[in-house]
């Protein structure tokens, strides 16, 4: 029965930009389910989510990106903090953060197109990791923007498929993320 305006009014504190949230969690059963379940239940949309080990085997790091135009990041981080297995949450400042993503592009590469693709890959500092007579796979690492730009460049050649990891991030400087 709520109108759209009321819905909007009830969600405060939106920043309007992309956020990278780094979450340090205990390696316990169900941690990822708790986090993804929390997002589903509270209606938060995750753009990307990456889980991986840290330098300490007791902990994992989850890096996720969300749209601050859609959600109150404050409410997201506060709800995450309530999970017992969550140790630390950082809403990373873009200027103080290095973020990278890995992507693999499988491209149709017949005849003349092949040379051009290799040239573009070279400009983007990509690496060719598989070649057949009719295709190449190019690996690109970088910011999400750079990967999107590469995709725009090569799509006309025939993009067979693409896989992306989602961003991982770490804060700049000596301090811990």
């Amino acid at each position: 029965m709520l109108s759209l305006q009321e819905l909007e009014a009830s969600v405060n504190g939106r920043s309007g930009r992309k956020h990278i949230v780094s979450i340090l969690v205990e390696n316990k059963p169900g941690v990822l389910t708790r986090i993804s379940g929390l997002f589903a239940r509270r209606g938060f949309n995750i753009d990307t989510l990456v889980v991986g080990p840290t330098d300490d085997e007791r902990f994992s790091r989850i890096t996720l990106t969300l749209d601050g135009a859609m959600h109150s990041i404050d409410q997201v981080t506060k709800q995450l903090h309530k999970l017992i297995n969550v140790l630390k949450i950082r809403d990373l400042e873009p200027a103080d953060t290095v973020a990278r993503e890995l992507a693999m592009f499988k491209l149709a590469a017949d005849g003349a197109a092949r040379a051009e693709i290799l040239q573009i890959a070279d400009i983007f500092r990509g690496r060719v990791i598989d070649v057949t007579r009719r295709s190449v796979i190019v690996e690109i690492a970088g910011t999400a923007d750079k990967i999107a730009a590469f995709e725009r460049m090569v799509r006309p050649f025939g993009l067979v498929e693409m896989a992306r990891t989602g961003e991982i991030a770490i804060s700049r400087g000596r301090g811990e993320t």
């Binding site: 029965m1 709520l2 305006q5 009321e6 009014a9 009830s10 405060n12 504190g13 969690v25 205990e26 059963p29 169900g30 389910t33 708790r34 379940g37 929390l38 239940r41 109150s72 404050d74 409410q75 506060k78 709800q79 903090h81 309530k82 999970l83 017992i84 297995n85 969550v86 140790l87």
Partner: protein, 558 residues
């Protein structure tokens, strides 16, 4: 010793004197340990009853309630009490049996993914993976359940792991790096709040169940009485401030008093303590308290700013913060006369809009009168456990609570069937007080089986069924908002509650006459053991006043 014997040791170490539960295949080892244990085990008749009983016990005593259930259907039967405890922040530890580890994930007999099913409805949960971790996990569970914002914690124990011999050593301390609730409120914020209070011309305290959870009733009462602050509370917060009282304006929200809702609407400063601005309280959010600034005191930082912006947020334990806020407020030496005009306005509403109903001209018992009669007959000195519906609203309106932990209801989830088992748990926890259960003819039927438990253990709950032969609250909504199209709200048959009570071994009465009601109630309450009273009340009576769903508080009707 066996891991299950260590479970008993841990329960003792946590000060548990009674648990509610039901055995089954997957928790047989635990029940074998109960055989030799000093811990009192109440055998309920349905796991849902066990869960609500543990909630009622926790709400009435302030201690952690404990409930045991087996795997599969035992575990799925506690889903409702778990959700209820989560919504109302009730500290309960649930132990569920689970199939043997080698069967996990194979759809074994009585296997359910308890850990997965319950994940969204627990404060935290544990799936035991190794028998040696059981003692530590139990202490962590109790610690998590009772501290910070309390809530339910579940421990799922595969049956094979619980029968293993382990070296039990008492667990001294609990260390949870990811769980450190803030208890001390920020001093600067508290001073700021005191200043805001001293300058406010139309302030009001709006308190919730959090005050009761924090055992902060004394501190709250002192602060409110330090000046002539008006106070209202949510239905969860009744009893934290003693009612009736000149400063008490009644509870607020959908069926609260007009005075409370109007005062919130016109307030310039709202001091929210342990309350969460639920939709049943705010009405239309965009028109809620449009002139107010908010001081929001809560132990859960996620509640602050969730529904309304907080101008002065204070995160921490209400008891600690209110005591310090009192000191800071006294130092402000505010002028009490600044509140004169505000009280004139409030008293105007109070005179004009008291809670009222039209009494019957004959012997018919109005439902509101039943509650007034209960209050009169008991002098207000009871625990009242309520079910969900019209009777719940009337009980909250017409029975006044002058102490915390006397009013036990399902506020957030609104669970029909909560009342009887919760009252049973409360009566076990506080045997020195009389426990009334106020229920409806529909609600009571959702957990009547617990009458057998009450009869077996001599748990003397006095159950008053407000019998109008309808699913009353739904009928009211169909009358008001669905053009009187009464769809499935009038059960064609319902049981003879007197005979039903007797069949279960409880005493049964039926009251139909207003003139003798108070005396009749006294007689029923003086009857030893569990008692069920079928009180025939006006069939189509509506709960008023009311904020229509989605309407603004100032547009109350009735």
């Amino acid at each position: 010793m066996r891991a299950v014997d260590a479970v008993m040791e841990c329960l003792k170490a946590e000060g548990v004197d009674v648990v509610f539960g039901y055995p089954g295949g997957a928790n047989l080892p635990t029940y074998d340990a109960f055989y030799d244990s000093d811990i009192k085990h109440v055998l309920v008749r349905h796991e849902a009853g066990g869960g609500h009983a543990a909630e009622g016990y926790a709400k009435a005593t302030g201690k952690v309630g404990v409930c045991f259930a087996t795997s599969g259907p035992g575990a799925t039967n506690i889903v409702t009490p778990l959700t209820d405890a989560m919504m109302d922040s009730v500290p309960v530890v649930f132990f569920t049996g689970q199939v043997r580890t080698e069967l996990l994930g194979t759809d074994g007999f009585q296997e359910a993914d308890t850990f997965g099913i319950t994940m969204p409805i627990v404060k935290h949960s544990f799936l035991i993976q190794h028998p040696t971790e059981i003692p530590r996990v139990i202490h962590e569970a109790f610690h998590i359940a009772r501290t910070g914002r309390p809530g339910p914690v579940l421990i799922d124990m595969p049956t094979d792991l619980t029968r293993v011999e382990i070296d039990y050593e008492p667990v001294g301390d609990v260390r949870l790096p990811g769980y450190q609730p803030t208890t001390e409120g920020n001093q600067k914020q508290i001073r700021l709040a005191a200043k805001a209070l001293a300058h406010a011309r139309r302030p009001i305290f709006y308190t919730g169940g959090g005050v009761i959870n924090a055992n902060a009733a004394t501190e709250l009462t002192e602060l409110v009485r330090a000046d002539r602050f008006p106070i209202t509370s949510t239905i969860m917060g009744l009893g934290a401030f003693p009612a009736p009282d000149p400063q008490w304006v009644g509870w607020l929200g959908m069926h609260g008093t007009r005075t409370a809702n109007y005062a919130m609407d016109e307030a310039d400063l709202i001091v929210a303590v342990g309350a969460r601005f639920d939709d049943r309280v705010t009405g239309k959010l965009s028109e809620f308290a449009p002139r107010a600034k908010f001081i929001h005191i809560d132990v859960d930082p996620a509640e602050i700013g969730k529904n309304v912006p907080a101008h002065i947020p204070i995160v921490g334990d209400a008891r600690n913060i209110l005591a310090r806020l009192l000191t800071e407020y006294r130092a402000q030496e505010a002028d009490p006369a600044r509140l004169d005009a505000w009280w004139e306005r409030i008293d105007g509403w109070r005179t004009q809009h008291p809670l009222r109903y039209e009494d019957s001209a004959d012997s018919e018992i109005k439902p509101q009168y039943l509650i007034e009669a209960l209050y009169e007959a008991t002098g207000g000195e009871c625990i009242v456990a309520s079910d969900v519906g019209q009777h719940q609203m009337w009980a909250a309106q017409y029975y006044h609570f002058d102490a915390p932990r006397r009013w036990i209801n399902s506020g957030g989830l609104g669970t029909m069937g909560f009342g009887l088992p919760a009252g049973m748990g409360a009566a076990v926890g506080r045997p020195e007080l009389t426990t009334l259960v106020v229920s409806g003819d529909a609600s009571i039927q959702m957990n009547t089986q617990e009458l057998a438990t009450c009869a077996e253990y001599g748990i003397p709950v006095k159950v008053f069924i407000m019998n109008n032969g309808y699913l009353g609250m739904v009928r009211q909504w169909q009358e008001l908002f669905w053009d009187r199209r009464y769809s499935h709200v009038e059960p064609g048959r319902w049981p003879d509650f007197v005979k039903l009570a007797e069949a279960y071994g409880a005493a049964g009465f039926r009251f139909e006459d207003k003139a003798t009601l108070v005396e009749d109630i006294r007689r029923a309450i003086e009857t030893p053991g569990p008692v069920v009273v079928d009180v025939r009340v006006t069939r189509e009576e509506n709960t008023y006043p009311m904020i229509a769903p989605g309407a603004a508080a100032r547009d109350m009707v009735g």
